[in-house]
Symmetry: C2
Subunit: 228 residues, 2 copies
């Protein structure tokens, strides 16, 4: 069992009978969905799931997990998802994928948000390794880019993997991948991005994670943060 599977299996043990569980998106989240479906099949665990993306909904459905639509929930018990960067105070960078908004909605709506990670995701500050994904309305991209450049950001619209087009999110937005220097602490950047008109959502998840699960020497450790 690899480290991703280890933390995913551990997360699945946290689910209790009757819970409404938010499903993340990505390779680690997929291991969790599989582990959850196995507990349902083998132990008769009763859960209801709500998905952060169409791809995870398809996977959950194929494994027999009962799903409800995001529109139908007002809160959820537990949300399980990965992250691209994790700081010591449990601020996260997410959004290399295409469903940033649904992920942040579920993180906010959850009583508890467990983050599946590994040692390579730990950073001193958000943006250390990756640019910050910023979802923008198509008509707003030039004004937002100009504004973020004035704040010291560098970057541009995210191209498709083939390089012949621009990435469009599930809500029809474009994505600016913007790098900011160490003069920006994660919280100040979060606030500046929140206050920029035309920004639909961005990849900084502040004060949302309850704990981060990381496999260390074959054992899962739960980090609950310092000063978060």
């Amino acid at each position: 069992m690899n480290d991703k599977q280890l933390v995913a299996e551990y997360a699945a043990t946290q689910i209790q009978d009757g819970m409404l569980v938010g499903l993340g998106t990505g390779s680690t989240a997929n291991f969790f969905i599989e582990a959850l479906a196995r507990r349902q099949a083998e132990e008769g665990l009763r859960v209801t799931a709500v998905s952060s993306s169409t791809v995870s909904a398809v996977k959950a459905k194929s494994l027999g997990l009962p799903l409800v639509a995001l529109e139908q929930v007002e809160r959820i018990d537990l949300y399980i998802d990965g992250a691209d960067e994790v700081t010591p105070d449990l601020t996260l960078l997410k959004g290399r994928g295409y469903d940033l908004v649904r992920e942040k909605l579920l993180a906010r709506a959850a009583d508890r948000f467990l983050v599946l990670a590994d040692e390579s995701k730990r950073v001193g500050r958000i943006g250390e390794r990756y640019p910050v994904p910023v979802e923008v309305m198509p008509f707003a991209w030039a004004l937002v880019k100009h504004r973020l450049e004035n704040l010291g950001g560098k970057g541009g619209l995210r191209p498709t993997a083939a390089g012949d087009g621009l990435v469009v999110t599930s809500y029809g937005s474009l994505v600016l991948d913007m790098s900011f220097g160490p003069e920006w602490d994660s919280w100040a950047l979060d606030e500046a991005l929140n206050a920029t008109p035309g920004v639909v959502e961005h990849g900084i998840f502040r004060a949302l994670a309850s704990a981060v699960l990381i496999a260390v020497d074959g054992k899962v450790k739960e980090f609950t943060g310092e000063g978060a």
Copy 2:
């Protein structure tokens, strides 16, 4: 000449040759568009306009004002628009219409933002007279409403005027009209709404207005705010 026309005519005198001007939306903004077109026709004033809505773009085009698309601008010289509420520190409530995001984008991109108002728009705090319009992604409305209710808000989805459907904005969002009590000052509410996932934009315009124009006894007075 009524009070709306008075402030609109005054605003038009602020436009200088070569300026890129943002056009607002609504009855008072319409008077400004007419006054600007008249200056172009009679004085040979050269301006370029960018519009906050399709309806204003149609009006400007019909009057012969040259228009550029929002996507093509990085900043503008002057933005002229109305507001529904104005506080002493020039925080505004806007968004009874359908193009909240474009209005806030132009307000942010403008070197100067002149607000066309009248005495009836002056309030002690935002939300005194009207609920705050909150644009939400369709799949997020229930979660956002629940969250705003937890913050003390009351309200719901905005119905169409005929009452047989829900208002949809130009970006395909729904609108929650939410009232908040006097325990919420405008700035704290602005920040709370900015930080709520699923919120596309909202009607509080903070630290964006340069001056508010109000006709008092047949003369236009320019209010530049206290502590803004």
